[in-house]
Symmetry: C2
Subunit: 150 residues, 2 copies
Amino acid sequence: MNEGMRTSHDPSPGELGVLVKATQALLNQRMDEALRPLGLTVPQYACLSNLIDEPGITSSELARRSFVSRQSMNVLLQGLERAGLVQRSEQPGQRREKAAQLTGRAESLFAQADNAVQAVARRMTAGLGKAQRTELFALLTACGDALSEE
Amino acid sequence: MNEGMRTSHDPSPGELGVLVKATQALLNQRMDEALRPLGLTVPQYACLSNLIDEPGITSSELARRSFVSRQSMNVLLQGLERAGLVQRSEQPGQRREKAAQLTGRAESLFAQADNAVQAVARRMTAGLGKAQRTELFALLTACGDALSEE
DNA sequence: CGGTTTACGTCAATATATTGACATAAATCG
DNA sequence: CGATTTATGTCAATATATTGACGTAAACCG
């Protein structure tokens, strides 16, 4: 019986926590290696990605989506501004917010960066079928939801 | 048909990458909140945990297991030393390594910290059955393996 | 309406982490 | 054996991130 079934561990919650951390660390490392030739860091890429998804977004909102403080996001944005990749509107809006946008040069650079990052992500999930990717998504979502409630 | 089946997404590799990061960030945040009353940070807890698992381990090895540089681990260890939680052997071994060990006081503190952290991990996996935890473990391991090969 | 709360952006101080370099001594290998 | 490689610890400089605080103005609500 159980032919072809691989022996599989019976993980404790703590082991799963460690594994989540280890997986993320490895993914981050690979993304960093993939982005380095383009002169971008992972946080910078994440910032550009969020700005592509929602142009004119505020710095504080970017900070939330990147899981960093708004102060950190501000210095990150300053770096991207200095590099000519983002442009922040002076004389800002009703809530003192300064809308940030990508420059044209940034958009073409981001296209390359996104290719590199997506390749890493595909590599990560190369051994998984469609049903397994769906399952992983559902399981991680359940974990996140459990950690989010009240 | 499909009664009782919840609509489930068909995630791209990139979405899974973002989700891994988001899950880890949330887990880290909850661990931080759980450890703060004890005066410990997550990296400090991880360090103590590794020292419990393998007493006399070297600083560089601790750095590898925590996914940080050995320089960072060194300042972290200095902080733990100053707090009287770890003790490093002077006049060290054959490879210039200084074995680090927990003090008795640290062991009782770690017991409390581990309780708090394990509770967070259990909360994270509260909605998962045994089979689902095993599946999540297998899927994350597959992702890590795919990112590790050559 | 008027007081309170919330939200952005920013300044300052500090903590944390990384990169680069160096000395040292063991391990490796031709 | 002798030369090269590897590994640890450490110093210095720098980058990155956090906490705390402040001013401001919109949103909220009794």
